[in-house]
């Protein structure tokens, strides 16, 4: 054959003769290939560029016009044939860099096209065997879209061009790619279509049956993760056809289940093993392998092993001792079904072979460690039957497990221990004297080195707390007196709601300190620009800028230069940075104005629809206005000293001490005759604490000293006559809400529990809160309200940093948070003083059911705290659960309630009573009501309570042997322990006493 020249190559490419081209290239040495590489690459690049036929005819080089003509005359089976042919030159002549970086060499189609030419590539590369072959493949496997397929790699391995590859990735590729891949194979003349099926491909390469096919069982791949792709069926088919040894398939599938593979793969392997349909005789041969699987952590695998042992046992082919010795491993699996099956099987085994009773007893003691109450219960039932064989050592082990058993199971365990003690002549064995001495022994747990204390102290004793130091009003308002009376009279425990207006909010421990000086302000802004951990910082910054904006020391520029740079960097539009989001409320403008910077453009549109955020925007813009006046040197403005923001909260939660508010007005605004900003004062009024109002009122100057004066007086409880003034309607609306506190009297019923108000010329604002039937409220103002319930199933997670505007919004009206709760603002659940309204309860229940684990944890926290502080009225919570039953996932809610109940007896009692209220209110009990009932059992047993008559009536309607039926029967059989009521009443006294002490401390200003 004559030497291959570039002209020959060009002719072959033009003829699209791939057979000839590959044949001629195969004879070339690596030097000859190198010599041709540059010209070949140019040809490939030209064809790639100019034969896409989107190119104008005049741009096609002359030497490619033949191709163009042939294409025009439809002489090729496919117009891309010359391109495909040329691309083989890259594989056959060039360095792998051209394949790796095809765009660099202007052959953009190369990688896409080569993927469809696996057979041709195999032919060319096998003949060539370049040095870079193995490294190139390694590189390709790291790419998102590699050019070679498993087929190519396998072909090269088979021919000896590459060493064998035993990596998991190789077999994962085999699993994925050994199938008929759809592609351009017909047109590219590739031969993958030679294999109509995966089986045909395997049969064409019988070496795969020796090793590779078995490795598929040992790696995480699609083969068993997605059995619907057909591998399990194929393996069974190949086994039936005699290509694979059936027994080996059975045993290897079992061995593979001991490997650290993914849950899906293990599940797939388990299904495959069963799909093979092992006979009892085959299973008997595999007994050891099944017993090993009992120790695996995957529940499906353990389940398979137990089922297999069960089948062997039915056929009397299961030896008792080995099974029972290995059984404890099954109880370490997570799910309950294999554990339950294991216990049942153990009982069957000892029935047919009583010699195994001691091992069975040992195994069942291990089963007590399982977290599921059903498993523990069944294990105890079994132990009861085997009690004659329970040794002192095992009895001690059971005693040690007592604290870790589900509460509902403990009476059963105690009963067993009592029986064991009475049937034994030995004295009860103390747990501390025994130690496990074999590895099969149950995991004996030492007690914590530092004893874990319950968050809530259990009612310690029956002594009444010393209440003499507590003010009589506080004793009454905090319900301490009522709680003490109930305990003394042994009345049924009850949670009384706390009226909002009696709660003392001015706690020194939660004070918010204003920014002290310029340095602190610079630092606070710099931190806020980066992240918003605590949204109250925004209020502190507004106040700081308001008071300190005229402080421009000589080194001001030096101090703020870095901050200016930071502001520019962090204000990129739609970056969701603090300043980008804050641009909507003018925060960016405010900061740049304060820092004497050029305005930083940010095209975000202001579209605040609710009053809450609208307040913030208006306050910010008023502040900007003040800064601008300072800059412009407005003499009237400059004569007056800078003033603080009125709405800066004085306490966490957004509260403002009325005394401080009046001090701000008296010290800064009134003497200088500075007008109050409508929105700032309205926001301040909405944030007033209920306590301290009369004191503040006494400090307030005449109402006409400043705008809004009458409204503020009215808000603080003064008997002033308010006349509607549309110019200051926002202050009046706010004052009306603040007035709720002083009008909290039963004779004033809410006209609208949650109202929206419209204001001014068509601008609608939301003023979310109750409108009272208060004769002092001007009629015109009342007219603005209409019913509004912003109900949503969505729960805003107040922990998410970038949602800081929502967190701020939740601080708008801390006194009346129902609307905000219905909007899903979870921060309200963490208010440690106010009794939960139905809206708060609804939010807590929705949060308990959320998909995101963090929100469920938050709901748990909130409920724990609310129970501890007696903020939950169980009847309200139960009612809300019943009403919203269809909105929630009960398994999640019951898990949250279970975590809450575990904290203390008081928590158990509140959870129990709430669930009872829910059960009573549900029109009919749904199929998953066992989730509620099982928690009721747990809590009722934990505190020794029985159910209320109404609950019993409801439960009597549950019949049958369903899980719910059994639980209902168990609940109906509960009897009340004598000390139960006293214990809960004591816990309530403790909680109310703590509340009263807290309020007393607040009242005394400590």
């Amino acid at each position: 054959m004559s030497k291959l020249t570039i002209d020959d190559i060009r002719d072959l490419v033009f003829a699209a003769d791939r057979d000839q081209l590959c044949e001629r290239m195969a004879t070339l040495s690596e030097d000859q290939r190198t010599a041709l590489a540059a010209d070949a690459l140019k040809l490939v690049s030209d064809i790639d560029s100019y034969c896409s036929f989107s190119t104008k005819p005049e741009e096609v080089p002359d030497y490619l016009r033949d191709i163009k003509a042939k294409v025009d005359n439809e002489e090729y089976p496919d117009w891309r044939c010359p391109r495909w042919t040329s691309q083989l030159l890259v594989v056959g002549l060039c360095d792998c860099e051209a394949i790796k970086s095809s765009h660099k060499f202007k052959i953009g189609w190369l990688r896409t096209d080569l993927k469809d030419m696996q057979q041709r590539m195999l032919q060319v590369l096998d003949a060539r065997r370049p040095k870079w072959l193995a490294d190139w493949l390694k590189w390709e496997w790291k790419q998102e879209f590699p050019v070679p397929s498993w087929y190519l790699e396998r072909g090269l391995i088979r021919s000896g061009a590459l060493p064998a590859n035993d990596s998991a990735e190789y077999f994962a590729r085999m699993s994925d790619e050994m199938q008929v891949i759809e592609g351009n194979f017909v047109n590219t003349e590739d031969t993958l279509t030679l294999f109509p099926s995966r089986r045909a491909m395997l049969e064409a390469d019988p070496d795969l049956f020796k090793h590779d096919i078995w490795r598929l069982l040992q790696v995480d791949s699609s083969a068993f993760r997605y059995p619907q792709l057909g591998w399990p069926d194929l393996l069974i088919e190949l086994s039936a056809a005699g290509h694979l040894d059936r027994m080996k398939l059975l045993s290897e599938s079992l061995n593979s289940m001991t490997l650290p593979l993914s849950v899906k793969t293990l599940t797939g392997l388990a299904k495959f093993h069963e799909q093979l349909g092992p006979t009892v005789a085959e299973r008997e041969q595999l007994t050891d392998a099944y017993l090993r699987l009992l120790h695996v952590s995957n529940s499906t695998v353990v389940g398979l092993a137990v089922t297999a042992c069960d089948k062997l046992q039915k056929d009397k082919r299961l030896a008792a001792n080995p099974f029972l010795n290995n059984l404890p491993g099954a109880f370490l699996a997570d799910k309950k079904s294999p554990a339950l099956a294991g216990i049942k099987l153990a009982m069957k085994v000892v029935q047919s072979d009583p010699a195994g009773v001691p091992q069975a007893a040992q195994a069942l003691v291990n089963a007590l460690q399982h977290s599921d109450a059903d498993v523990q219960s069944l294990a105890l039932e079994g132990l009861l039957k085997l009690r004659s064989s329970i040794t002192a050592e095992l009895r001690a082990a059971i005693e040690e497990q007592l604290d870790f058993l589900a509460i509902a199971i403990r009476p059963q365990a105690k009963k067993l221990l009592d029986e064991l003690a009475s049937s034994s002549e030995d004295a009860p064995v103390k747990s501390s004297t025994k130690k496990p001495n074999t590895s099969d022994m149950p995991a004996k747990q030492s007690l914590p080195a530092k004893p874990i204390k319950s968050q809530q102290a259990e009612p310690s004793n029956g002594d009444l707390p010393d209440v003499a130091h507590i003010d009589a009003n506080i004793r009454r308002d905090s319900h301490l007196e009522a709680a003490i009376a109930a305990r003394s009279a042994s009345s049924p425990p009850v949670v009384l709601p706390i009226a909002k207006h009696v709660i003392l909010r001015r706690d020194q421990e939660s004070r918010v300190n204003p920014i002290a000086d310029l340095d602190e302000l610079i630092s606070a802004v710099a931190t806020f620009v980066e992240k918003v951990d605590d949204v109250i910082e925004l209020e502190r910054i507004l106040d700081g800028i308001s008071r300190l904006h005229r402080e421009k020391p000589s080194d001001f520029d030096k101090r703020v230069d870095a901050l200016r740079k930071q502001v520019i960097k962090r204000s990129e539009t739609y970056s969701s940075s603090t300043l980008d989001v804050g641009a909507e409320i003018g925060l960016l403008t405010l900061i740049t104005t304060w820092l004497d910077m050029e305005p930083v453009p940010n095209p975000r549109r202001i579209h605040w629809y609710t009053m809450r955020q609208w307040f913030l925007r208006e306050r910010v813009y008023e502040l900007i206005e003040r800064l601008n006046k300072t800059k412009q040197g407005d003499p009237y403005h400059l004569k007056k000293n800078p003033v603080p923001m009125l709405a800066l909260p004085t306490h966490r939660g957004g509260w403002i001490d009325p005394v401080v508010l009046v001090e701000r007005i008296n010290e800064h605004y009134a003497p200088q005759h500075v007008l109050l900003d409508d929105h700032d004062i309205a926001q301040a009024i909405l944030r007033l604490t209920p306590d301290g109002r009369s004191e503040a009122l006494s400090m307030l100057g005449k109402p006409d000293y400043y705008n809004g004066g009458k409204d503020l007086r009215y808000a603080l409880g003064d008997k002033v006559e308010v006349t509607f003034n549309s110019r200051h309607a926002v202050i009046q609306l706010a004052a009306e809400r603040a007035r709720i506190v002083s009008l909290a009297d039963e004779k004033y019923q809410p006209v609208l529990p949650i109202a929206q108000a419209s204001l001014g010329s068509g601008q609608r604002i939301l003023l979310e809160g109750a409108l009272l039937e208060d004769p002092t409220v001007p009629f015109e103002l009342m007219k603005t309200g209409f019913s509004y319930e912003p109900k949503t199933d969505y729960v805003h997670d107040h922990l998410t940093r970038h949602l800081w505007p929502q967190r701020w919004a939740a601080m708008t009206n801390p006194m009346d948070t129902d609307a905000s709760c219905l909007s899903g603002h979870t921060s309200h659940l963490l208010d440690g003083e106010a009794t939960w309204t139905a809206a708060a309860c609804r939010l807590a229940i929705l949060a308990s059911s959320q998909d995101r684990g963090e929100i469920r944890v938050l709901a748990t926290d909130a409920l724990v705290e609310a129970c501890q502080r007696l903020l939950v009225v169980p009847e309200v919570l139960g009612h809300v659960m019943a009403v919203n039953y269809s909105l929630v996932k009960l398994n999640r809610v019951s898990k949250v309630l279970s975590d809450v109940a575990k904290v203390s007896k008081l928590h158990h009692w509140l959870v129990l009573r709430s669930l009872e209220a829910c059960v009573i209110e549900l029109p009919e009990l749904p199929s998953d009501s066992h989730l509620l009932l099982s928690q009721m059992v747990e809590s009722a047993i934990a505190i020794g309570a029985s159910l209320q008559p109404k609950t019993c009536d409801k439960l009597k309607s549950i019949e049958g042997k369903s899980k719910s039926g059994k639980l209902a029967k168990q609940l109906l059989g509960l009897s009340e322990e004598a000390e139960h009521i006293a214990a809960i009443n004591t816990a309530i006294v403790d909680a109310t006493f703590q509340r009263a002490c807290r309020w007393q401390r607040i009242a005394s200003g400590k």
């Binding site: 040992q218 001991t258 977290s371 874990i452 630092s523 101090r559 200016r564």
Partner: protein
């Protein structure tokens, strides 16, 4: 500028494997460091199941990446010395540090050999370990003294990896957390197992959750406070579940500055997993030790203390202080400094340092504190000057940054800087380079 990763090649003489030897499995660990492939010892394994589970867990963690779909490629390192065989490693994301310490009771023969080396972990080896779990007895060889190399003595197991400097830095930085960690909870393993299994999936990735005691159990909370430890990324915690499952001893939970350490005690072995404060953060860049490195009192003692290190399993600082005639506090500071150079590690169980030298080119480890170097560079370039002295302890400094001057205020109540780093992290990740530079000038020497 320091490169993010360097090319590194593990050149093992053979691949670690589990092979049958006289019907007992033989676990052959292949070793490699820049000086060769050391052989430490051969022994029987007392509890093959526990040994295998521990090594499988090591493999699981070092192969895991907890915030990207990647596989960790770096092998663990093993240190042998004075009755301890210690494995150390990081998850692929460098957010989980593990230390698995075997003592003599884990083996039928005493632990012998001294040194630190890389250990090859590969997929087949781990699969072999899984089978070893069921063996009644097994043998171990750490390294091999009679390695038959491939034809021509060539290395037959070669792994080219990118060795991120954050991985190396993590080794040095995490020790400062371990030394300062405080034991908060000791919980029965059965309760810990239930807690881990009940954790919500993929929670705590972007928001830190906290662990607290509730009654006699553990529960998650969103509120931090005294007696709570952070749980960042619940799936990270799941990595230790297999070991908690087989533990018969209480699990200890330690805490230091947002970093939690879980200690699981198994027969003959203690497994320690330390979790970084955020899932997207490793331990590198924490800079906890920077301030003391910049101005500490360890410099005089460093060489003397280093000369006293000879692969001790536990380093007695009092003994070294006596031998070197140095105050104990100075020796302790010197050990802290040596930890940041990868020359000692800290064993939380023994509450003492142990000698180990990371098996990498020492040049890589020397330059692991770019922030400290940057601070020194600022001083060298005269890019820092005092602005004003406010009091005996408080002063203001101007430091040249890129395009702006940063104002640093050194104060007893806490240092402050106007740079972005400080705005983001305050002092939670150690001081910024500007504060460091100011501190060096104000209180330390500039060696």
């Amino acid at each position: 500028m320091t490169s993010v990763a360097v090319d590194y090649t593990y050149s093992y003489p053979f691949a670690s494997e589990v092979c049958a030897d006289e019907e007992k499995p033989l676990v052959r660990l292949s070793t490699y460091d820049d000086r060769g492939s050391p052989h430490f010892f051969n022994s029987g394994i007392a509890e093959p199941a526990i040994f295998a589970d521990a090594l499988i867990s090591i493999s699981t963690i070092v192969r895991s990446h907890f915030f990207e779909r990647k596989v960790g490629l770096l092998d663990p390192v093993v240190t042998c010395g004075q009755s301890r065989l210690r494995f150390e490693g990081f998850s692929g994301c460098c957010g989980v540090y593990l230390q698995c310490n075997f003592d003599d009771s884990a083996f039928t023969s005493p632990i012998q050999g001294r040194g630190t080396t890389n250990i090859d972990f590969n997929e087949q080896f781990v699969q072999g370990l899984a089978q070893t779990r069921f063996a009644e007895s097994a043998q171990l060889s750490v390294g091999a003294n009679d390695v038959t190399l491939g034809v021509g003595g060539r290395v037959i197991k070669e792994k080219k990896v990118k060795l991120p400097l954050r991985w190396l830095k993590g080794f040095c930085e995490v020790q400062s957390y371990l030394t300062n960690a405080e034991l908060l909870f000791t919980i029965p393993a059965v309760e810990v197992l239930r807690f881990i299994r009940g954790l919500p999936r993929s929670a705590g990735r972007t928001q830190t959750l906290w662990l607290t005691a509730a009654g006699n159990t553990l529960r998650l909370t969103t509120k931090t406070g005294k007696g709570t430890v952070p749980v960042v990324g619940t799936e990270r915690l799941r990595a230790i579940e297999p070991l908690v499952r087989i533990s018969k001893k209480p699990v200890e939970i330690w805490h230091a500055r947002g970093v939690t350490t879980w200690k699981i005690v198994l027969t003959g072995c203690t497994f320690v997993a330390t979790f970084s404060p955020e899932i997207y953060r490793g331990f590198s860049g924490e800079g906890q030790a920077l301030q003391s490195l910049a101005t500490g009192d360890w410099k005089n003692a460093l060489d003397q203390v280093r000369s006293k290190l000879h692969w001790q399993g536990t380093i007695d600082s009092t003994e070294i202080a006596e031998k070197a005639n140095l105050p104990v506090a100075e020796v302790q500071s010197a050990l802290d400094a040596l930890a940041t150079r990868g020359l000692v590690g800290f064993d939380i169980s023994d509450q003492s340092f142990f000698h180990r030298e990371l098996p990498f080119n020492s040049d890589l480890i020397e330059d692991l504190h770019p922030r400290l170097q940057a601070a020194k560079k600022l001083i060298t370039n005269s890019a820092i000057r005092q602005h004003q002295s406010i009091s005996a302890t408080d002063s203001e400094w101007l430091v040249q940054g890129s395009g702006v001057e940063h104002m640093v205020r050194l104060s007893e109540s806490g240092d402050r800087c106007t740079c972005t780093w400080y705005s983001k992290h305050q002092n939670n990740r150690g001081p910024c380079k500007h504060i460091l530079a100011a501190r060096i000038l104000a209180f330390g020497d500039n060696d």
